[in-house]
């Protein structure tokens, strides 16, 4: 398995605050990794470092290259949609295709056109005439037609309605993703991408709070909906987070066998969204 991104001691400071405080992580080829964290956790900073848009301390290699000093080479194999990477309003749809076709050796124009035919977007339209959802569709059409090894998406569906969001991720999964490609994405709408991800990285206050393959989560983390009368005894097994739901106490345990926990109540595998909340709020401040 090839490593697409390798970070060791990745650090980024803005004055006295450390947006990234010496984090280590790696992303293997053929994975869909969700980089998840609250606002200001350092997600965007990490993505910008990966895309060579900001200098950093520590070691970071993307496809074997330093993204900051070798950005031009890295960008031949990397694509990204940043939430702030706005398509210019004066651009026509046909011009967007012309431009990308003219600069990207691995852009397959017919694929983009085929995708656009399924939408209401007209070739002659200016970006300023398109709705926000259509602009994202256009951007996606451009990206999907590029045979890139790494796709980075920073809040790609921000501000879109549910239909567009669902369509966006379905297209990504069905028309784009394969074992040769790697997707790294951030979003606030964790619930919507749970089933998409192969790996999750939780990031909080510049530190990695969790870094795991999704299939490994079920064996490591257990949610038990504890009956109130069992709560004191269950607490002795040191849940890292608990909250009340419908008169039960949902307790979250790490590295505990199910046999130990079964007596206390209903056992569940926590959703990524629940785990995220548990990890963030249970984390020592």
């Amino acid at each position: 398995m090839t490593t697409v991104i390798e970070a060791r001691g990745l650090t980024k400071s803005f004055g006295a605050t450390r947006a990234l405080d010496g984090i280590d992580f790696s992303v293997e080829a053929g994975r869909i990794v969700g980089l998840i964290g609250p606002n200001g956790a350092g997600k965007t900073t990490a993505l910008k470092a990966i895309l060579g848009l900001t200098p950093f301390e520590g070691d970071l290699s993307v496809l074997g290259k330093n993204p900051y000093s070798q950005r031009d080479a890295v960008m031949r194999d990397v694509c990204f949609i940043a939430d702030v990477a706005v398509l210019p309003k004066w651009l026509r749809v046909s011009q967007a295709l012309d431009f990308v076709a003219g600069v990207h050796p691995r852009f397959e124009r017919s694929r983009a056109e085929e995708f656009l035919r399924k939408t209401d977007i007209k070739m002659k339209s200016h970006v300023r005439e398109l709705s926000k959802g259509m602009v994202t569709q256009l951007h996606l059409a451009l990206i999907l037609a590029i045979d890139a090894r790494l796709l980075v998406l920073d809040e790609p569906t921000l501000g879109l309605d549910l239909l567009y969001r669902r369509q966006f991720y379905d297209t990504l999964l069905n028309d784009y993703f394969d074992k040769e490609r790697t997707i790294l994405l951030t979003t606030h709408q964790v619930e919507e991408i749970e089933n998409l991800l192969t790996d999750v990285i939780f990031i909080n206050r510049g530190h990695i709070a969790l870094d795991s393959a999704v299939e490994g989560l079920a064996t490591r983390y257990v949610q038990v909906n504890v009956k109130p009368d069992q709560a004191v005894r269950a607490r002795e097994l040191k849940p890292f987070y608990e909250r009340e739901i419908f008169g039960r106490v949902a307790m979250f345990f790490e590295d505990r066998s199910t046999d130990e926990l079964v007596p206390f109540g209903e056992i569940r595998t926590p959703s990524i969204a629940d785990l995220f909340v548990a990890k963030m709020q249970g984390a020592p401040a």
Binding site: T44, K48, L51, L53, T54, P55, R71, D72, M75, R76, C79, F80, I81, A82, V84, A85, V86, L87, P88, K89, W90, L91, R92, Q95, D98, F99, V100, A101, G102, V103, H104, P105, H139
Partner: protein, 298 residues
């Protein structure tokens, strides 16, 4: 992969003033040729008087001078268009936040910055040159068709193929000479366009004014102003035996050779100041590329 053609096309899509303004002047000029009194009182010269005063060479001189007048009008317009283009070229993509889209594609900052410099110094002037040439041909076509039978026109202005080729060859060479001469001005504007957080216009215009005033107040001298004025325009008085460039040279001309000499900027290639300017431009462009490359746009 050669990305230059599409990078240049991007500039033409984004900055439509680059072609709309020259095209508007061209259309206006051609329309003027249809006015009833055109050809009778052209350029303030009375046709009848000119015909009376006519030396054998005079109709060809007028023919050449008329083309230079239009080129002069285009040069003035082009410098205004280029000024606004250069101010905007690296600022607009930051203002509309599309810069991260451009940066998401495998185009280096060096390619992008150089394509914009090339548009201002070569593509725009070359386009205007071709447009002026076509406009002149159209205007002559109209005038000669309308007044061709009038003997007064023939003694006022006469088509001369040799003069036409010589003039337009010179004007074509001038495009490249002026590209070198104005390179430091363009590079300076691009640096400001890439660097300024806002008010690019003020950052372009105010510093020279402040410098000129400060020099005057502190040292009582005017070197800054002179250097600037020389680079921007008064250098032409060092051309054509100090008679200047274009029609100002033509106005004092005694023969066709003098008029054509007034369209010849090639001597500037021997001026040290031309090449010093090119070196300064290279340094400024290097700085501009680094700003676009390394500035954090968030």
């Amino acid at each position: 992969m050669n990305t230059l053609p599409v990078l240049i096309r991007r500039e033409i899509w984004e900055h439509r003033v680059l072609w709309m303004a020259p095209l508007a002047v061209s259309v206006l000029y051609v329309l003027l040729c249809f006015l009833p009194n055109t050809g009778v009182n052209m350029g303030g010269i009375d046709i009848a008087e000119a015909a009376r005063a006519g030396s054998p060479e005079r109709p060809v001189i007028i023919f050449t001078a008329v083309q230079m007048v239009l080129m002069g009008v285009f040069y003035v317009l082009m410098s205004i268009v280029a000024f606004f283009y250069l101010s905007d070229c690296l600022y607009a993509e930051r203002k509309d936040r599309s810069i991260l889209f451009w940066k998401s594609l495998p185009v280096s900052d060096t390619e992008t910055v150089l394509s914009k410099l090339l548009v201002a110094l070569i593509v725009l002037p070359l386009g205007v040159y071709v447009l002026a040439l076509i406009t002149n041909l159209a205007a002559f076509g109209i005038l000669f068709t309308r007044f061709g039978r009038n003997p007064a026109l023939d003694s006022f202005m006469r088509w001369d193929t040799v003069a036409w080729v010589r003039l337009n060859a010179l004007l074509l060479a001038d495009v490249f000479v002026f590209a070198l001469w104005f390179a430091p001005v363009a590079a300076c504007q691009m640096l400001i366009s890439a660097w300024a957080k806002s008010s690019v216009f003020l950052w372009t215009v105010l510093p020279p004014i402040v410098l000129i005033l400060a020099e005057r107040l502190v040292f009582g001298t005017t070197h800054t102003g002179q250097v600037l004025a020389y680079r921007l325009g008064s250098f032409v008085w060092d051309l054509a035996g100090h008679r200047g460039f274009g029609l100002s040279a033509g106005a004092h001309a005694s023969g066709l050779e003098d008029v054509l000499a007034g369209a010849n900027a090639l001597p500037m290639l021997t001026w040290p100041s031309t090449w010093i300017g090119v070196a300064v431009a290279a340094a400024l462009i290097f700085a501009t590329i680094r700003i676009r490359r390394y500035r954090d746009e968030s």
